[in-house]
C-alpha cells in the first residue's frame, strides 16, 4: 500500500509531466525539422535526414530533454521519505511492520519507475515524430537513449531523495540536491578548462549518449553507463544506511 501512497503523492505531477515532456519534444522536433531543409527531408535525401536526426538527438534530447529530466528528478526526489519527518508522519509510518530499508527502496523504486516511463514516452514520441516526418527509420539506436537519460534522471532523483532523508526535510533536501547538481555541472568544465582533466558529469554523460545515436564512429559510452548506474544505486543504499540508524 505504500507504493500506492507514493503514487498518490506524485500523481498530478507525474501526469502533467507525462503529457508535457513528450508533447514539448514533439513540438521542438517539428520546429527543428522545419528549420532545416524541409524539402530535402520530405524527399528522403540522406544527408538532410541524417542532419535532422542528429539535430534532434543532440539538442532536443541530449540538451533540452536531458535538462528537463534532471530537473524533474530533483523535484521528484524532494517528495521523498525525508518529508515524512517534516510532516511528522514518520511516527506513523515507521511503526508499520516493515524493515526500514523497505521504505527507502519502495519509495525510490516508485520514483524510478515514473521517471523511466516518462523518459521512454518522450523518446518514443520524439523518434516517432522524426520517423513520420522523414519517412525514414534510422536505426534502433535512438530508443537506446532511453537508458542513459533514465539513468541520468535516476542519479539526480536518488541524490535528492537521499538528501531529504539526511536533512529530514523535502525542501532542504531539494536545496542540497540543486547545489550538488550545480557543482557537478560547473566543476568538470572548470577543471577541464584549467587543468585539462576530464571529470565525469551527469549532463555530459547524457549528452554524449545522445550524440552516439547519429555518429557512426562514436562508441556507446558503456563505461559511463556502468559508472552512473553504480552512482544511481549508491544513493538508495546510502539512504537505507542513514534511515536504519536514524532516531525518530
Amino acid at each position: 500500500m505504500y507504493f500506492w501512497k507514493c503514487w498518490r503523492d506524485n500523481r498530478t505531477h507525474f501526469i502533467v509531466s507525462l503529457i508535457a515532456l513528450p508533447a514539448l519534444c514533439v513540438f521542438f522536433t517539428v520546429i527543428a525539422v522545419r528549420l532545416g531543409d524541409p524539402d530535402a527531408v520530405r524527399k528522403g535525401t540522406p544527408p538532410s535526414v541524417i542532419q535532422a536526426w542528429s539535430t534532434t538527438t543532440e539538442f532536443i534530447l541530449g540538451g533540452w530533454a536531458s535538462v528537463f529530466t534532471l530537473m524533474w528528478g530533483l523535484v521528484l526526489g524532494a517528495s521523498g521519505l525525508g518529508e515524512e519527518f517534516k510532516e511528522r508522519t514518520a511516527d506513523f509510518l515507521l511503526v508499520r511492520p516493515r524493515r526500514r530499508r523497505f521504505w527507502v527502496w519502495a519509495g525510490w523504486s516508485v520514483g524510478v519507475t515514473e521517471l523511466s516511463v516518462m523518459v521512454f514516452l518522450a523518446v518514443g514520441a520524439t523518434f516517432g515524430t522524426l520517423t513520420y516526418m522523414t519517412g525514414h527509420v534510422h536505426t534502433w539506436r535512438p530508443l537506446a537513449t532511453t537508458l542513459p537519460l533514465a539513468i541520468g534522471g535516476t542519479v539526480v532523483y536518488g541524490l535528492t531523495y537521499f538528501m531529504t532523508i539526511v536533512a529530514r526535510s523535502g525542501r532542504q533536501g531539494l536545496s542540497y540536491g540543486i547545489g550538488i547538481l550545480f557543482i557537478d555541472l560547473l566543476l568538470p568544465s572548470a577543471v577541464s578548462y584549467y587543468w585539462n582533466v576530464n571529470l565525469p558529469s551527469i549532463l555530459g554523460f547524457m549528452m554524449g549518449a545522445c550524440k552516439w545515436v547519429t555518429s557512426p564512429t562514436a562508441v556507446f559510452p558503456v563505461g559511463g553507463l556502468v559508472l552512473w548506474t553504480l552512482v544511481a544505486l549508491a544513493f538508495p543504499v546510502a539512504a537505507q544506511l542513514v534511515l536504519e540508524r536514524a532516531e525518530v
Partner: protein
C-alpha cells in the same frame, strides 16, 4: 517473560543534555489496562518510542509480547497498535483512504471494526485529513489502531481533543473490545481520572525511573498515608515505606501495606498518629512526585527522606 506484554530491564536513554530514561524496569502483564503516568518530561514518551523502535536505547533491554526490542522489532510492530502523541497523518488522504492504506500492512485488519468505530466516533470519512479538527484527527488515529487486530495497544494521550461523550465511548470500547477480549492496553495520559477508571495497573514514572508499579486495587485497599505528630520515629525503615516527608509540625509516611501494624508501631514508640487515610491516584501521584524534604525529630535526629526503590 511470556506472560508479560511489556518488560524492560534498566532501560536507559541519554540525550546530550539529559537522561530521559534512567534505569527503567517495568513489568506489564498481559490482558490488563496499564496506566503509565508521569509529569511532562518524566520520560514517558521516550520510553514509548523505545518500545516501538523509533529510538534506540542507550543501555538496558526489553521485550514486547515476548519479542526483543530492537532485534525483533518488526514482529513487535506486527502485533502492536500505536497512537502517537502527535496525531498527524497524511494530509492529502481521507480517513477512508488512510484505512485502506493501513489495512495493507495488517493481515488481521477488520473492515467491520473500522466501519463500526467510524460510525461510533462519528468520523467524516471522506474529508481530507488536513481539514479535520483535532478531535476528529484523534478519532481517526483511534479507529485505525482499534481495527488493526493488535494484541497490544500503546496509547499516548489518546483522548486529546475529545469531548466527554467521545471519551466515554472510547473507554467503553477499550474495556469491551480490548481488555474484555484479553488484549493489553498501555495508556500514557495526563487525565488521571480516565486512567483511574479503567486501569488495572499503574506505573508512575519520574525523572526516567519508575517510582511505583502496582495494581490499582492494591493501591486503594492497602496503600495508606499515615500522618504523625510527635517526636518518636521507628528505628527501622522497612521497605514498605514509600515516602517519608515532613509537612509543618507533622510527619507523613506513605506505606504500601500493613498500615495498621505500622501505625500501631508508631504509637508504641510514642508518636501520635493523627490520621491513616486511603489514597486515590491523584494523591499518590502528587505525594510521590513532589519534592520530599528531610523529616527530622527531637530525639531520633534527622532521617533522610527517601523514596523506596524496592517495588516488589
Amino acid at each position: 517473560m511470556n506472560d508479560l506484554a511489556i518488560w524492560t530491564e534498566e532501560l536507559v536513554k541519554t540525550y546530550p543534555e539529559v537522561r530521559a530514561v534512567d534505569g527503567l524496569s517495568m513489568n506489564v502483564p498481559r490482558g490488563v489496562a496499564y496506566g503509565f503516568l508521569g509529569r511532562n518530561g518524566a520520560g514517558k514518551t521516550s520510553t514509548i518510542r523505545i518500545l516501538l523502535g523509533l529510538t534506540r536505547p542507550t543501555a538496558g533491554r526489553g521485550a514486547v509480547l515476548g519479542f526483543s526490542i530492537g532485534r525483533d522489532q518488526v514482529a513487535i510492530l506486527e502485533r502492536t497498535a500505536f497512537v502517537s502523541e502527535s496525531k498527524t497523518l497524511y494530509g492529502n488522504l481521507t480517513p477512508r483512504e488512510l484505512a485502506r492504506f493501513t489495512q495493507g500492512f495488517y493481515p488481521k485488519w477488520s473492515d467491520q471494526a473500522a466501519a463500526k468505530y467510524s460510525r461510533l466516533f462519528e468520523i467524516p470519512m471522506d474529508r481530507p485529513f488536513s481539514k479535520l479538527s483535532q478531535g476528529n484527527r484523534t478519532k481517526v488515529y483511534l479507529m485505525l489502531a482499534l481495527s488493526q487486530g493488535a494484541d497490544l495497544l500503546v496509547l499516548d494521550e489518546p483522548t486529546m481533543g475529545l469531548d466527554p461523550l467521545m471519551v466515554d465511548e472510547f473507554l467503553r470500547v477499550l474495556v469491551e473490545d480490548v481488555v474484555g477480549e484479553g488484549y493489553t492496553v498501555f495508556v500514557s495520559s495526563h487525565h488521571l481520572s480516565d486512567v483511574e477508571q479503567i486501569a488495572d495497573w499503574v506505573g508512575l514514572i519520574d525523572h526516567g525511573r519508575l517510582l511505583l508499579e502496582a495494581r490499582l486495587d492494591d493501591i486503594k485497599s492497602q496503600f495508606r498515608l499515615i500522618t504523625v505528630a510527635g517526636n518518636a520515629l521507628p528505628q527501622t525503615l522497612s521497605p514498605e515505606i514509600l515516602l517519608v516527608a515532613s509537612e509543618g509540625n507533622f510527619c507523613k509516611y506513605l506505606v504500601k501495606k500493613n498500615a495498621d501494624a505500622f501505625a500501631a508501631e508508631l504509637n508504641r514508640q510514642g508518636a501520635t498518629v493523627a490520621e491513616v487515610s486511603p489514597l486515590g491516584l491523584r494523591e499518590i501521584f502528587l505525594e510521590l512526585v513532589r519534592k520530599e524534604e528531610a523529616c527530622t525529630s527531637g530525639n531520633v535526629g534527622g532521617i533522610t527522606a527517601r523514596i523506596s526503590s524496592s517495588l516488589s
